[in-house]
């Protein structure tokens, strides 16, 4: 997309005189800015949705506008806006004994790790910043940067609870990356390409005449792989029932205990961005991405956006559903689930998909 913009710039007369380096920066910024806005708006919407969904699941009302003044807007719509403003103007506290440089750097590393993943995510047929040859692998690679940010935050806070939280988090993320990647490989074996758009296009059409040809329905092994992928994804982003890194009621909130104000907000932005990434990846790889459930029906670029966001939004809703209905796992149960159940199952899955593809196609 940068190349496309540069080409467009060269056609505009008053821009063509400028140095190409400046144009390059301009093009990159023009793409990065909407993505950043998207990440911020995504967090705003997700926080509101989370509060409302949790409230309805617990038979409460959640944030509501009260009385004549409508304090938080109708249905509490302005609640997250108020929260965001509060976070912006809150005092920025850095503990006296904290490692200042790393303490300041950590939230940015974490956020950048989440943000650059968006470069590889196709929103519809055309809106995709770069369709890498290594698309899926790029996303897996970039999401491993965030771990360093978490460890930095835990270490630099100079607080043993933060450090323990960071260790728990890193151990969890690294462990669940393995079943996640293995269940991803099952699909890549069937597609024969790492490109995101190739994976989505491979899911075109119908299977058995009724079901959409999404990889979740493709064969029994990819059906299992879908669940392993999504649950591992939930564990990757540290959400309940896998939210040991920040179990605020039992374990003193983990790596971001000492953070406040805007720096804390960056952790939050990264968390909701990661949630969206997991939902988007799952819907792209197993649920056909921007493809309509009925081939040829409502399949334009605009509808592509609609289908993509409906699928991703539904999966985000499922994650919130998990959060308010499942109890938290213990650390040993968490590791047991990953290493004793998910890992063998995904290895068998991999073999199964290979045999299925060999014999049936």
């Amino acid at each position: 997309m940068v190349d496309l913009l540069l080409q467009k710039f060269s056609e505009v007369s008053f821009l063509s005189g400028m140095p190409s380096a400046l144009l390059f920066v301009l093009a990159a910024t023009l793409i990065a800015l909407p993505l950043f806005m998207f990440v911020a708006v995504n967090a705003l919407v997700a926080v509101y949705a989370e509060r409302k969904i949790s409230a309805f699941m617990q038979d409460r009302l959640g944030p509501m506008g009260q009385g004549v003044g409508l304090h938080a807007g109708k249905w509490g719509l302005l609640q997250t806006v108020a929260d965001a403003i509060k976070l912006l103007i809150k005092e920025d506290i850095i503990p006296a004994l904290a490692d200042r440089k790393l303490f300041i750097l950590a939230p940015f590393i974490l956020f950048v790790g989440a943000f650059i993943v968006f470069v590889g995510i196709p929103f519809n047929q055309h809106i995709l910043v770069a369709d890498f040859n290594i698309g899926v692998f790029y996303i897996i690679a970039m999401s491993s940067i965030g771990v360093i940010g978490i460890i930095m935050a835990g270490y630099s806070s100079n607080n043993k609870w933060s450090l323990y939280g960071a260790m728990r988090s890193a151990a969890q993320i690294i462990s669940y990356e393995i079943p996640l990647a293995l269940s991803l490989i099952t699909v890549i074996m069937l597609v024969g390409s790492l490109k995101m758009q190739d994976i989505i296009i491979a899911q075109h059409g119908l299977i058995w005449g009724i079901l959409p040809n999404w990889f979740i329905f493709n064969n029994p092994f990819t059906f299992i792989a879908f669940f392993i992928f999504f649950i591992s994804g939930v564990a990757e982003v540290n959400r309940t029932p896998f939210d040991l890194p920040e179990a605020e009621s039992e374990l003193v909130a983990g790596f971001h205990t000492e953070y406040s104000g805007m720096r804390w907000a960056f952790f939050f932005l990264a968390e909701y961005a990661n949630m969206f990434i997991v939902a988007a990846m799952t819907s792209i790889i197993f649920l056909g991405g921007w493809q309509s459930p009925i081939p040829g029906f409502l399949n334009g670029p605009g509808w592509g956006l609609f289908w993509f966001f409906s699928k991703a939004g539904f999966l985000i809703f499922v994650m919130m559903w998990f959060r308010w209905t499942f109890p938290r796992l213990r650390t040993d149960q968490l590791m047991q689930m990953c290493w004793k159940y998910f890992l063998p199952f995904s290895l068998i899955n991999l073999l199964g998909v290979g045999l299925w593809d060999l014999w049936l196609n």
Binding site: S20, N133, A141, I151, L163, A170, E177, L194
Partner: protein, 163 residues
């Protein structure tokens, strides 16, 4: 050219943070500087059209080895109390050796006849690597995987000895 500027930025990032790794007196700073150095190396791979290797570099080195290094540092006892965990000694002799090695390398780099060639547009390196690994270098590939498995089992054995 935009690409040129980015190339020199990547080079500066790689070399600058590599210097920081060596010169920093705080072990954890060195580890974090290593992160940026690894990222820079991944960037250099991209300039060589080796996109798969670049992503592998990040997965293996940033996601695996660097996390392992930081875990090692954080789990080592009393490293938090001693802020200066590694100091430089014998700077004079070290400086002389380093300068000599640098001059030798510099002479070699500037003296050797480099073979320049326009990089062909490669349509993805993944399938090429896959075919080479699965056809031509199948035996080394399988032997390496057995070796890694043995290392994994050995590590598990060693860590369970206490039980």
């Amino acid at each position: 050219m935009g690409a040129d500027i980015i190339f020199w930025m990547v080079v500066a990032l790689t070399v600058g943070s590599a210097f920081l790794v060596v010169l920093s007196q705080n072990l954890i700073y060195s580890a974090i500087a290593l992160l940026f150095s690894f990222m820079g190396v991944a960037g250099l791979y991209i300039f060589m059209m080796a996109d798969f290797i670049a992503a592998t570099q990040i997965v293996i080195y940033v996601g695996g080895i660097l996390v392992l290094i930081i875990f090692g540092i954080m789990l080592t006892q009393r490293i938090r109390d001693v802020r200066i965990s590694h100091t430089s000694m014998q700077r004079g002799i070290g400086g002389v050796v380093v300068t000599l090695i640098f001059l030798g390398l510099f002479r070699m780099i500037t003296g050797s006849p480099w073979h320049f060639e326009a990089i062909p547009e490669v349509e993805g390196t993944v399938s090429g690597i896959g075919k080479l690994l699965m056809v031509e270098y199948l035996l080394p590939f399988e032997v390496t995987s057995v070796l890694l498995l043995a290392a994994l089992m050995g590590a598990a054995m060693l860590s369970r000895r206490g039980d």
